[in-house]
Amino acid sequence: MTERSSFTDEDELEPGIVDARSLSYRSVSDAAKALEVGRNRLIITGLVVILAFLAVSAKLVVATCFSHREEIKVDRPADPEPPLARSDILDRNGQLLATSLATASLHADPKLVLDAEEAASKLVEALPDLEYQEVYDKLTSNKRFVWLKRNLTPRQHYAVHILGLPGLLFENEERRFYPSGKLASHVVGYTGVDNVGLAGLERFFDKRLKGGAGSVQTSLDLRLQHILHREASAAVEEFQALGGNGIIMDVRTGEILAMVSLPDFDPQEPGDAEGDQKFDRNALGVYEMGSTFKIFNSAMVLDSGKIHLADRFDTINNIHVGHFTIHEYHGLHRMLNVAEIFQYSSNLGSARMAVQVGTPTQMAFMAKIGFFRPVPIELPELGWPLVPKPWREINTMTIAFGHGMSVSPLHVAMGAAAVINGGIMHKPTLLKVQPGQEVPGERIISEQTSMEMRRLFRIVVTEGTAKFANVPGYMVGGKTGTADKQRGRHYTNANLTSFVGVFPINDPKYLVMIMVDEPKPSANSHGFTTAGWVSAPAVGRVIKQIGPLLGIQPIDEQNPEIRQALEMDPGTKGTAVAAYSPDDDH
């Protein structure tokens, strides 16, 4: 303090004793001044403190009397959100395809285990699938953390808990569960033990499912999936085939309603799958599809404008190119027009049509319908088509009837849907399209050509190779395909039979495709293993069951309007062969 300096001249004074003289004589004015300063400071300090207290009080009053209750946040000891991170996968009707369940996983801290021998024997009693020796070794190991068993069921959890063994601990985990088992295993996929999507939709939407963005609603319909699975399995079993696959698709939106690949696996235990069980034949497998390619060949040549339905082609003389010979399997020994070539599935006619239109047109068409790239669908496992390089005239010819180029069955379904639905290509999708939602599409052929293709599809079922696919009331149309399988450089007698069916063909809504790999003759097929005997009846059975489920109005086939819409022009209709049976298919 500055005042103290005035005392310093009286240096003889003992400290602490105030010299009265200095107050009385010398520093009266100084002292008054000092007091004044002190008081001022005191007042200022007091004011600041009072202000601070007033602020606190004001805040207190506001907080207690005027604030809204919901603004008050209490830090909560636990988060009420369930610890389930991975969202569900649903079918189009909300049925669960995949869900997550909270489970407890058992681990141990060996240092805290008192009696490893007793603990191990009690544990093995409670959890019979554990091995005593293994558990004992783990409990006597030098680690501080060992997993004993992941994802206990509630009952197992209780059984271990009640043992009351020290050193055993539980960790809350979640486990992926697939209520309908292997019904849609290739599409839905599966996850690993740490809940990471490893295949199918689980992998494709892994981020979204983990991110808590809500469940993924797929376009699949579990009911249709079941029917397709049952009928495809029945065909595979009846003909003792290596495998098979099937697709049901909404041709108006590109939605996949069902997709089955056989053999399949249990997504709950993906590790148990053997051989090609996990192989998805629909999207990943690429095959020489055989005659179903004539759908695209016919659409291409008709849409080019250079060839018309009534034009006739030589289907009598074999084609020789280099050392290749293209011949007919069951020649009719006469000229056939475009409609008959499709109806009787003539290789020679198809090859000659393609050559007349030309290789560049064919290549451009194949590119336009997306046959040079994997199918754009929400699956991680997609097969690249095998395309000839260079693309010679012989390739043009063989591709016309489905050999020399391999695509996935999903390619065929996607392309056939576009050919038949009025000519608009929609990307196939596994996500549900909401009613009224606009589906983008790209025109690939004219509406006129699509109408002609509908007629061609219909006569294949009514008078061609696929009579067994017919279902009264549902106006099925389609195309069979029986491809010889290639082993190394040679074609063998083994077949790959497929049938692409569309119904109702006068106003196409749904496409059903079933493919069977290497069928052997069955008791009912009279020794035949062609698509007309193997795949077409299976598709017929599927359509018979799903028609009522999908709410399709049965159609009176005798209705004049319907007949007129689908009747072939008398000039293009084949008359020479009265009795044509499905075994003549190729």
């Binding site: 997550s100 088992g181 009911r223 079941h226 009331g473 799903i546 709410g551 009176d556």
Partner: protein
């Protein structure tokens, strides 16, 4: 020496202290309560999740089909022949009052055939692909007048997988359908009903059979 004001302040301080003590205990209790509730919510939620998964297992088409196969032996999956629209019903403009309608499924016949006097399987198709119940609407005969309310005779309801659903009490279905139809009715002649009931195979459901018989007698 305590003054009065000191005493007052001491009392206030004491009260505030006690209140604070109380409050902090209350908060502590509430926190415990929240924690308990949160735990219960989580348990409840995982319970719901388990129940949903269980529902998924119980409604698995494979399982339902097996059950339907062993217990619903008299019902068969509906076929195209059992589905028709109201437009396909033969309407007779000159139907006498008291005209009546039929319900019978007759899978042996082509569906929706417009020829009158023939047995026609009549069922309204489900409104949507997922709507499982297929049913038919008929007018109830009332002497002298055509009853305006449409009454439904539900027949084979299709559950998810093309297998018949468990039977629902018939009056329930009637009410439901009558509401859905908004009074729309299809009227047929009594004669055609008589023919139907004799020509067609008896419907699998006894309730329907009894009702048909009653309608046939013109009650």
């Amino acid at each position: 020496m305590l003054r009065k004001s000191d005493l007052l302040w001491l009392t206030v301080a004491a009260i505030a202290g006690v209140e604070l003590f109380h409050t902090s205990y209350r908060v502590q209790n509430l926190r415990e309560e929240i924690a308990t509730l949160d735990r219960e919510i989580i348990a409840e939620q995982s319970g719901i999740q388990v129940t949903k998964a269980e529902w998924g297992v119980y409604t698995d088409p494979v399982r339902l089909e097996a059950l339907a196969g062993s217990y619903l032996t008299t019902l068969t999956p509906i076929t195209a022949a059992q589905v028709a629209s109201f437009n396909a019903l033969p309407l007779k403009p000159g139907t006498p009052p008291g005209g009546m309608a039929l319900v019978a499924s007759n899978p042996d016949r082509p569906m929706g055939s417009p020829a009158s006097g023939r047995a026609v399987g009549v069922m309204a198709t489900p409104a949507s692909a997922s709507g499982p119940v297929a049913s038919a609407s008929v007018a109830v005969p009332a002497p002298g007048t055509v009853h305006p309310a449409a009454v439904a005779l539900a027949s084979v309801g299709s559950s998810g997988m093309g297998m018949p659903a468990a039977p629902v009490p018939i009056h329930h279905r009637m009410n439901r359908q009558a509401q859905a139809d908004g009074g729309q009715a299809a009227v047929l002649t009594r004669a055609s009903v008589a023919r139907v009931s004799s020509a067609s195979r008896p419907p699998p459901d006894d309730e329907i059979g009894n009702l048909l018989l009653r309608l046939g007698r013109g009650q």
